[in-house]
Symmetry: C2
Subunit: 335 residues, 2 copies
C-alpha cells in the first residue's frame, strides 16, 4: 500500500526527473529569474497569427526543448499529462496532435503543473509508464481576453489582482536515471471559503494551500523545516501572506522557508503586476527553470512544490458563484 | 510491469465497480433506454436559476445516488476523477466543493468518462486508493450557448451535427468487492485528420476511435469478438459508420458487436437529434445506466468502453483550426 497518513502517497520507486525546460515572454525574462529559462520570445505572438496559437507554440517549444535536453524522442514517451487555462485546453491539444503520445488531459487551473507531475510520477511509480511528461502553459493575452476583457479595453486591475504569466514548462520523468526524484504526492481537496472577488484569486486559494500543506506535514509526520523550500504556485502577495498567517494562527508555526512562484517570477517594484504572477505557466516555468537548476546544482535538496488553482470561470463568477480553490503538493528530493 | 503491448495497461488487481448511477433530462429518459436511469428531471433547470448550476446539480445528483447505492459516504472516497464540458469545468468544481475528497480535474471532452474511469482504476490497482470515483456531466443548454449560439437564436443544425445530452453519470470503484471489474486500459493518442467542421464531430473523432480500438486488440492479441459489446461514446451515426468502414477497409474486419452511446441514448426516428447524442454525460449515463445493468445481470460479460473526445473550442474552430480527436478505452469484465 502506497498511502501514508490520510491523504499522501509515498512513491516507493521515486520516479526520477530526467530533465525540464521552460519558455517565457520578454517581461518574465526581465525579472529576478532572468537567465534561468531555456527559451525567451521577444514576440508575444511567438511567430503565430493569434495569441492562442502563440500559447500553443510556446508550450510546444518548452516540450520540445525538454525532450532534446533529455535525449528522448517524444514518441518514446509512454504518456503525457498536460493542460492549460484556455477554454477546453486547446493550447495543449493542438500542441500534442503531432506527437502520437498517449495523452491524459487535465484541468486544474494554476495547479495543473503540480497535478500533471503528480499523475505522471504516480504512473511511473506504478509501472504504467517508463517515461512520462508533464506540460503546461499560460499566456497573458489569451487569459486576459478569455477571463476578463479584451486587451484593447484597457481594464483597470485591483491591487490584489495577479498577472497571468506568458510562460510554459515541461518536465520529463522516468523510472531510471540520476537526478532529483518525486518522492511523495498529496492530492488536494476543493475548498471554497466563499470569496467571490475574481480580482483576488490569491485569497481564494490560500486556504486550500494551507490545507494541503498541513495534510502533507501531518501525513509525513514532519515539520515545515523538513524542506529546504516550500513553494506554492501561484498565490502571489495576498495569498502568500495569508498562508503565512494561517500557519502562524492555526498551528503556531512561523514558516521561514516558504516562497511563491507568483512572487518569484516578477519584481513587484520593477514590474506593474499588482500582487504578482499567476497562470499555470508561472509555477511551471519557475519550477522547470530556477527550482530545477537549484536542485540539480545541489543548492536545494528537498522542495515541496504545491500548485494552487482557482477553479472558477468567467461564467461562474458572473453568476455570483464563489471561487473554489485547490492545491496539489509534490515532494521533490535529491540525495 | 503492467504494460502489455505498446499502449495498453493490464490492471492485475482488476478494480471492482462498486456501483454507478445516472441522472438525465426528460428527452433522454423518453428514448430507447427509458427505465435504465436512476434519476430523471423533467425540469431542465434541476430547480436552479441557471443552466450551469443545473448541470452541477445534475452531476451532484448522479454522484450522490452512486454513493448511496454503494453505501459509501463521499468522505470515505480516497480520490475522485471528474470533469465536464463547461469552460474551466466549473460544473464539477462547484459540485465537489462540499465533499472534501482529493480531486483530480480532467478535461477530455466527451472522452472524460473513459479517462476518469481509467485513472481511477489505475490508482486503485496501484494501491494509491481503496475507493475512487469517476464522475462527469453535460447539459444541452449549457453546451449550446457555450460552444454554438444562445438557444434563443434558434441556430440551424446540420444532418451530421450531434445533440449534447443532458445527462450525468458517476461510478464508484474499489479494491475489494464483487461485481464487474476494470481489467485493461488503453490510453489514447490525439489524432487530427484535418476536419474543420464543428458540426461533424463524429467524423473528427472516428479515426482516433479506430486507432485506440485497433491498438487495444493488437496489444491483447485478441479479435473484436473477444468482447460481447464494443461501445464508443459518442460518435453518433456518422462516426459510428466511419469506424465500421475503417475496420472493414484497413483490417478487413466486420464489426458485429459494435455500438455507440450517441446512437443508443436517442431514437433518431423519434427524436430530432440529427446524427445522435454527444456530450460527456451521454456515454457516462449510458454506461452507468444501461450497460452496467446488463453487466450486473450477466447478459453482458465483457465490454470495451471507448470514450471519444473532440478537443476543440469555439475559439479554435473560429480561428480555422482542425479538430483533434482522442479515444480512451477501458475494458470491463464480469466473471
Amino acid at each position: 500500500m502506497s498511502r501514508i497518513g490520510k491523504q499522501t502517497l509515498l512513491l516507493e520507486r521515486s520516479p526520477v526527473i530526467l530533465g525540464s525546460a521552460s519558455s517565457v515572454g520578454s517581461l518574465e525574462a526581465s525579472g529576478p529569474l532572468a537567465g534561468t529559462f531555456d527559451h525567451v520570445s521577444d514576440d508575444a505572438y511567438y511567430g503565430q497569427r493569434t495569441w492562442e496559437k502563440a500559447e500553443s507554440a510556446m508550450q510546444a517549444q518548452a516540450f520540445s526543448l525538454a525532450c532534446t535536453k533529455c535525449g528522448v524522442l517524444p514518441g518514446n514517451l509512454d504518456m503525457v499529462f498536460a493542460g492549460d487555462l484556455l477554454n477546453q485546453c486547446t493550447a495543449t491539444a493542438l500542441m500534442l496532435r503531432e506527437t502520437g503520445i498517449p495523452f491524459f488531459g487535465l484541468y486544474g487551473a494554476c495547479s495543473t503543473m503540480a497535478e500533471s507531475i503528480a499523475l505522471a510520477a504516480m504512473c511511473i511509480n506504478a509501472g504504467y509508464a517508463n517515461r512520462a511528461a508533464a506540460v503546461t502553459s499560460s499566456h497573458f493575452c489569451t487569459a486576459e481576453r478569455q477571463f476578463r476583457m479584451p486587451l484593447e479595453y484597457g481594464g483597470q486591475r485591483g491591487p490584489s489582482s495577479q498577472w497571468t504569466a506568458t510562460a510554459a514548462g515541461a518536465m520529463l520523468m522516468g523510472s531510471e536515471g540520476d537526478g532529483a526524484r518525486v518522492t511523495h504526492v498529496t492530492p488536494g481537496k476543493i475548498l471554497d471559503t466563499g470569496m467571490t472577488d475574481s480580482m483576488n484569486m490569491g485569497a481564494a486559494m490560500a486556504y486550500a494551500a494551507f490545507d494541503t500543506l498541513h495534510a502533507h506535514f501531518r501525513d509525513l509526520d514532519v515539520g515545515a523545516e523538513h524542506y529546504d523550500l516550500i513553494v506554492t504556485g501561484d498565490l502571489a502577495f495576498v495569498g502568500h501572506s495569508l498562508v503565512l498567517e494561517l500557519f502562524r494562527r492555526e498551528l503556531n508555526v512561523e514558516l521561514t522557508n516558504y516562497n511563491d512562484c507568483g512572487l518569484m517570477l516578477y519584481s513587484r517594484d520593477q514590474h506593474d503586476i499588482n500582487a504578482g504572477g499567476s497562470g499555470c505557466g508561472c509555477s511551471a516555468a519557475v519550477l522547470c527553470g530556477y527550482i530545477m537548476r537549484e536542485l540539480n546544482s545541489g543548492r536545494l535538496k528537498r522542495v515541496l512544490f504545491a500548485g494552487t488553482g482557482a477553479l472558477m470561470s468567467a461564467v461562474s463568477s458572473g453568476q455570483g458563484e464563489s471561487i473554489p480553490g485547490i492545491c496539489h503538493a509534490v515532494a521533490i528530493e535529491r540525495s
